[in-house]
Amino acid sequence: MPVGLVVVSHSRALADAAVELARGMLPGRDLAVEVAAGDIDGGLGTDATAIAEAMTAADSGDGVVVLMDLGSAVLSAETALDLLDDDARARVVLSPAPFVEGLVGAVVTAAAGASRAQVAAEALRGSAPKQAHLSGGPADGTG
């Protein structure tokens, strides 16, 4: 089974849109992508118990890579690890990758059957194409 993905965001709309964008890279293929986003009332926020449930749902035995937006999303994802048992926790990688670019890279790599480490590495490389494209030119913001 492929590695599962969990998308953690303050905003359900932001998470769903990021997943839609990433799934566009997978025509006709399926992949477990679980979303844990928004607070308990549907407002902006994160919920570690929902993240832990998403981690469990996305893990079919080969583990999970988690993409997060910022701030409490990171703290809640780390807290969610405290709520899992040791075996499940050992199969989760929290990715420091940029949210959108990382998710796109992770989705493509996971769907191809790569390992957790490979998926996490590809997520982290996610912003490289943008950086390469925009570096060195007249509008790179450094001049």
């Binding site: 607070d39 926020g45 409490s72 703290l75 809640s76």
Partner: protein, 211 residues
């Protein structure tokens, strides 16, 4: 004399913390509006209101069970960074609570403090909750080591927390949303240190006359 920390005392502590946060909800949110995302008071009030409701409904039998229930409720309902941070505080305090005497209380608070520090990867001086909690734990330990009664020791801890809170004003934030502001975060009192001082104040009020 009752143990410092039985289930009823823990519940009273949480209830008093909830009351103080509710009373100062708007002030906490205003502090957060200056250097954060203007939700600290409302988020924490919502979480603690839910925690008090959960305790009322379930009446956990042990002090550790009270603290663990508060932890999971805050983690689920707060929404912002204070959810995992206060949730971790109560979860680690619950895990460390061994017995109900004064030393057990001090050790549980210290474990909660260490949990917040490791969760937030923060240290005193970063303009966070730790700037109130850390001096409070130090003052509590020192007073208990001197053999002072629990009342006085907790009062000393609350005063140390308040001084620590006040000392966050000139600090430059190094963690959380406020760190995006850099030097512009100086001149504002930290909302997390402010609510953390209320947590210690609540302990001093609720646990007075015990142990």
């Amino acid at each position: 004399m009752a143990d410092a920390l039985d289930a009823a005392a823990c519940t009273t502590w949480v209830r008093e913390f909830a009351r103080l946060v509710h009373e100062q909800r708007d002030a906490l949110t205003q502090l957060d509006a200056a250097i954060g995302d203007a939700d600290h008071g409302s988020n924490l009030d919502r979480g603690l209101t839910a925690a008090v409701s959960a305790l009322d409904a379930a009446s956990p039998a042990s002090p550790a069970a009270v603290l663990a229930m508060v932890a999971t409720t805050l983690i689920r309902t707060v929404g912002g960074a204070s959810g995992p941070l206060y949730g971790t505080f109560f979860l680690r305090a619950a895990g460390a609570l061994d017995g109900g005497d004064r030393a057990a209380l001090a050790a549980a608070l210290r474990a909660g403090l260490d949990g917040v520090a490791s969760r937030g990867k923060a240290a005193p001086g970063d303009k966070t909750m730790l700037d109130a909690l850390s001096p409070a734990c130090d003052a509590l330990d020192e007073a208990l080591a001197q053999g002072r009664p629990l009342d006085e020791a907790l009062r000393a801890a609350a005063e140390a927390a308040a001084r620590g809170r006040d000392a966050t004003v000139p600090m430059v934030a190094r963690k959380g949303r406020a760190s995006y502001l850099g030097e512009r975060s100086a001149g504002h009192q930290d909302p997390g240190a402010t609510s953390a001082a209320l947590l210690v104040e609540a302990a001093a009020t609720a646990l007075a006359g015990r142990g």
